[in-house]
Structures are given as structure tokens and as C-alpha cells.
Symmetry: C2
Subunit: 266 residues, 2 copies
Amino acid sequence: MQQKTQQSKLRQKKVVDFHVVKVACKECSLHQLCLPRSITGADLEKLDEIIERKRPLKRNEHLFQVGGSFNSIYVVRSGSLKTYSPTVDGQEQVTGFHLPGELLGLDAIGKGKHPCAAKALETTSVCEVPFEHLEGLAQELPTLQHQLLRLMSKEIFDDQELMLLLGKKTAEARLSAFLLSISLRFKQRGFSSTEFYLSMSRNDIANYLGLAVETVSRMFTRFQEDGLIKAERKHIVIKDREMMQKIAGMNDCCEDPVDDQSQLFV
Amino acid sequence: MQQKTQQSKLRQKKVVDFHVVKVACKECSLHQLCLPRSITGADLEKLDEIIERKRPLKRNEHLFQVGGSFNSIYVVRSGSLKTYSPTVDGQEQVTGFHLPGELLGLDAIGKGKHPCAAKALETTSVCEVPFEHLEGLAQELPTLQHQLLRLMSKEIFDDQELMLLLGKKTAEARLSAFLLSISLRFKQRGFSSTEFYLSMSRNDIANYLGLAVETVSRMFTRFQEDGLIKAERKHIVIKDREMMQKIAGMNDCCEDPVDDQSQLFV
DNA sequence: TTATATTCTTGACCTAAATCAAGGGGAAAC
DNA sequence: GTTTCCCCTTGATTTAGGTCAAGAATATAA
């Protein structure tokens, strides 16, 4: 009861709508992660105005489909999604996983159409940021323009890391690097970096890493035997991070300190 | 003589400097490829002002080194470069090839340092675009901001295509896709799409595609035997594009019509 | 020009991971 | 509760492509 009243107060003049629940950015638990520090006050309200919160997606629901027209970028608030595109032979290719605080849709700006589909791996809520508005706002706010460019640059950089993984690394290095990457991303969002829940199936992981499911499964088993991790179904515990980094053949750059400026909205 | 006088006229009040030869954008042969159509007149002059032309690089000279601080993005005017980063085991990983009209350095915006090095594959000239100035200008010119975002998005999209290649395709599909990609890029720049010169070594190609040199060599041989291409050292002729597309397992999207808006500067 | 070093090609062999095949265990549906 | 289906694991076998080795062609240096 008490809580309800508080929430109402916070929502202030906003219409309560059970389908599109609006929660202002400054009330969001991920606020400090999400916005450039320098954006505050009036600017923050401007941002807040253009952002829409969609009703949560259920598992396996799509956020957008391949070829769908691009209007917005999305930020994961809770839950997780995978993006994937169809290949010629009717298979699907998983192109990425998106955890809370991470963006989707940047690859669609160029063509104005989504080159991949996005599907929720669990119950997931996202913020929708209409791109035209965002562009307009970036025109006014240099910090925001800068942040946007940085974010896209980071995406390019990350993709290149993954290319390296796919092109040159063994199955065991790939899985190790994958787990460490997930671990790091959870850590950056303030979650445990040693213990987490993998919302995606082994199949999705294999697909993403360019391996067969069987290979991934075998690697999980081997990592457990070697005492590197504890894996009970989707619940993972990293036990020997040091060793896993060695196996992954990590560049030092992957251990860079968390960059607070790395996110835009949540 | 006549020509010289003309050039002098065109260069107008600019100081002639043999180290940094300045040539205005509107005089550049690649002008129409390079600039968004809507940028003209006074805006074009603003752009022109911030761009620096560096003296040409000789083969094997570096444009920038790994870890070098990021100040500018670069556009290839003629020649070509490869970008590569060092791996843990002291090897190098080729992350891309850059043909005339293409950009380098977008992956460095995020961290402010170059995550890869860029080396000329032949005598190469580039335009240098100081990033701070570009950002400032994009703040004034919405078209430019938009163009910049589009370009970065395209880079993300292209990287994802390559990830797919590296993760799922056979050696023969990789090489076929590579050759078709080069062919398309030459075409977009107004060169022949069926006959071209590969400035990079087999080694670089193999590295880039995540294959052994020997495998690449064998594939070249096989493609010739099958009458798909004619390859005499680095001179390549595409003889059966249709079949190569089949082998590459191309998504239809790769045959998209040329997008004039795809470039920024040259 | 000859000498030396790359870069490329080809062949023989081997290994990492794919494929094929068969069970086992949870979660969702009835 | 029981059934169904999907996801995961494990084992046996195959294969694409890596590695090793050697020679040919071309480029670079002397």
C-alpha cells in the first residue's frame, strides 16, 4: 500500500497505462549506469520525454523482426534478448546477446531496416528510443552526440574482437572467452561476476560461437572436470578466472576498468 | 604547363606545401562518391577546411600504430591499407582492408586509442579528418551527423556479415565471399567489378579469413580449375560471378544497389 | 647480372571439431 | 499425475582444414 502510493507520487502527472508503463529515467535503478554524467536537469527531462517504455516481452516474443523498418533503438532494462539473422540455407545465425543496460538496433541505422531479429530469452523489458528524436536531441546536446558516436565505435570494436575469436581460436578458447565476456558484462552492471545465470540455450551459444552444440556441451563438461567452472544447467560459477583467461588467450584490453560512460539509456 | 597553371588557379590562395598537399574536396575526383549530396556551397567549404591531406604513404609504411592516440579518422584517396591487431601469441590478426573511398579509425573513437594498426599495402594517399572538428561540424550540420551515424552503422552491419562468414562458412565460401566483396567495393568506386588487382598477399587474405595460407592457395587453384576465376598472381578476373555467389552462400542483401550516401569524404 | 629472400603452390599427413547416433533429464502440456 | 517434447550430454566416426615439408616463382638486394 505504502509502496503503491509512493509509486503514484513518483509517476506524478503521467497516465497510468498497464500496457506502456512509463517510468522516468531519473527514477530508473540503472540511471547512473545509463546516462552520461554530464546530462542532468533540463537535458535529462528532454531525454526522458522521447523515451518510451514498452510492456515487458515474454520469453520467445520478438522485439523486432528481420526486415522490419527501423524507427527506434532499444535499451534492455531487465531480462535479455538474442539477435539473429536468417542464413541462406534457412538456418539462423545468432549475432548477439543483449543484457540489461545494453543496446539493440544500431546495425539498422544504415539501411533503415533491421538486418536481424530480436527475441526475448526470458521475460524482458526494454526502453524504446525513437531514433529521429534521438538524432534531433543529439544535434542540440554535444555530449549526447559524442556518447552516441562512442557507443557505436565500441560496438565496432567489440565485433572485431569477436571476429578474431571466430577466425582464430579453438573451441575451448571461444567458450572461455564467451563466459568471461558475460561475466564482465554482468559485473559492469553491478551483478556478480563469478556467479550468474545464462538465459540462452547451449544451442544459441554454439550458434553464436560458430560451433556445434555437442562441442559446446563437451567443453562445459571439460571445464567442470578441470575445476574452472561449476555449471548446473544454466547456473554458472566461475571458479578459476585466471586459468580461463589464459585459455581464452585474452588480450589485456579485455580487463580494462569499467567505463561508466559506456551506456546511454536504460 | 597548361595543366600546372590550371591547378594553381584551382588551389587559389592555398600555400603550396610539398609535404601536405592540399586539394579542395570539390576538386577531388571522388567528390561525388564521398559527400552527402545535400552538402554544398558554404558547408562544403567548412568541411574542406578541416580536412588535411597527408603526403602519400609508401608500401609498408604505417598510417597509425596500435595504441596510438586517436585524433582523426582517415579516408583512403588512392591505394589501399590493411588494419591489423596483435594477438596474445605475438601473431597479427588482419581486421580489414581499406580501398579508395573507405574509412579507417572508427573503431578508435570509443577508447580514444587505436585498437589496431594501419599499414599501406601499396603507395597510398589518405585524407585526415580531425575528429574533434568533425564532431563540431556534425553538431552544426544535421546531414553530416546523420551521415556519420549511418556510416558507423554500416560498419557494424558489415562486421556482422563477416562474423557469419568466419563462424559458419567453409573455406571455399569464405574466399568466394571475399572476392565478391572486393569486386563489389571496386564497382561502387567506379572501377571494374570483374577484373581487379589484389594488393594484399595471400597471407593477409588467409589471416583475414581465418584460414591457413595453404588453404587459400588451394582454393585459388580450385576456383581456376573450375573456371570461376582467372588468377595470375594478384591480378584477378571474375569469370562466373553467378556460381561464386552460390558458393559464397550469399544473402540477397549483398547485391543491394550501390548506395551513394555510403561515403563521407575522400 | 647473380644472390637472397619472400611469397606462393603442391603434396602427405594429422588433428580438432563436425556429424551421426543414442540416451537421459527437465519443463511444459494435458 | 503422466506424457510429450525439447534440451543437454556422451560416445563413435568422419572430414575439412591445419600443419609440416619441399619446391617453384617472383621480388629485392648486392
